[in-house]
């Protein structure tokens, strides 16, 4: 066999292995733990609620799908299905809050109403409240 054929075969073989490896890696990729991820936006709970209330379309374009670091005071901690936890933050609007949903097995012990907190979460949008998903308490 000629040398260049061998080299070509080697390259094809290498690419195939790399391709399969990347495929398996991407397929198994878990949703990220956001506690140490650098946030795209740093904002307070009242400010982000106001942004959505005043102009939902603009706020959706700006924040949805982004990692938000939100700070505020906890108004309620509610357990959800499958051991998830939803933490609401005060916004100054009684009808609407920022709801941060933590995935199962999150470290939310010790968090209670009245506490100040900084949370990282994926912004999924606005229903009656601003919703952050896949949340984690920001680590310093």
């Amino acid at each position: 066999m000629k040398t260049y054929v061998k080299i070509a075969l080697g390259v094809v073989f290498f690419l195939a292995i790399a391709g399969i490896g990347t495929g398996i890696y991407l397929f198994n990729l878990k949703p990220k733990n956001l506690s140490r991820v650098k946030a795209d936006f740093v904002i307070t709970a009242p400010d982000i609620e106001k942004a959505f209330e005043e102009n939902e379309a603009a706020a959706t374009a700006r924040y949805v799908g982004k990692v938000i670091e939100v700070s505020g005071e906890i108004s309620a901690v509610k357990p959800g299905e499958n051991s998830s936890v939803s933490i609401s933050l005060k916004t100054g609007n009684d009808m609407s809050s920022v709801i941060c949903t933590f995935p199962p097995a999150s470290k939310t012990e010790g968090l209670s109403a009245g506490q100040a907190v900084v949370i990282h979460g994926d912004c999924s949008g606005y229903l009656m409240d601003v919703l952050l998903n896949n949340c984690a308490v920001a680590s310093k």
């Binding site: 990729l29 878990k30 949703p31 998830s84 606005y126 229903l127």
Partner: protein
């Protein structure tokens, strides 16, 4: 009403199991009329695999264009539920389910449990993606069940 209700779906095929949870469901139940409304953000569905979540949002649900899924309907036999007496009652819900911008009439059997200071609603039903104009390529179709099993679980507390 509740703001952290649960809707999840599950698909089982020999190739793989797919599961998605949404714990950010807003729902209001008017116990005097039986009227019930659900609203969810499609982007709130959470998958075990990041890539599945991406495909779900971008390829199938087109959640940038159609961010919300809603249900508007009525518990048709709300009068059989005694709200003063604890217990679990069988209920039937009928109404319009809008997913991916397509509205279909659905009829679902479920239960309503009268508990201390809360009403717990539970239901299970099937949903066929094609009925909501969600097109899944043939190659991938084998990996997703023809009819997805949807689970609904709400804990309603009185409005303050």
């Amino acid at each position: 009403m509740t703001k952290n209700g649960f809707v999840g779906f599950f698909s089982h095929t020999p190739v793989e199991d797919i599961k998605a949870d949404n714990n950010q469901v807003a729902s209001i139940l008017d116990t005097s009329t039986g009227d019930v409304v659900f609203q969810v953000l499609v982007k709130s569905f959470h998958f075990d695999r990041a890539l599945m979540e991406e495909h779900f949002n971008e390829n199938y649900m087109e959640s940038d264009k159609l961010p919300k899924a809603t249900f508007k309907g009525r518990i048709t036999n709300i009068t059989t539920v005694d709200l003063k007496k604890k217990g679990t009652y069988n209920v039937t819900v009928e109404g319009d389910l809008t997913v991916h911008g397509v509205t279909n009439k659905v009829k679902v059997d479920g239960t309503l449990e009268v508990a201390d200071g809360a009403l717990n609603a539970n239901a299970k039903f099937g949903i066929v993606p094609e009925e909501y104009k969600i097109s899944i390529p043939g190659l991938v179709r084998e990996k997703i069940e023809k009819s997805l099993a949807v689970t609904v679980s709400m804990k309603y507390t009185p409005m303050q």
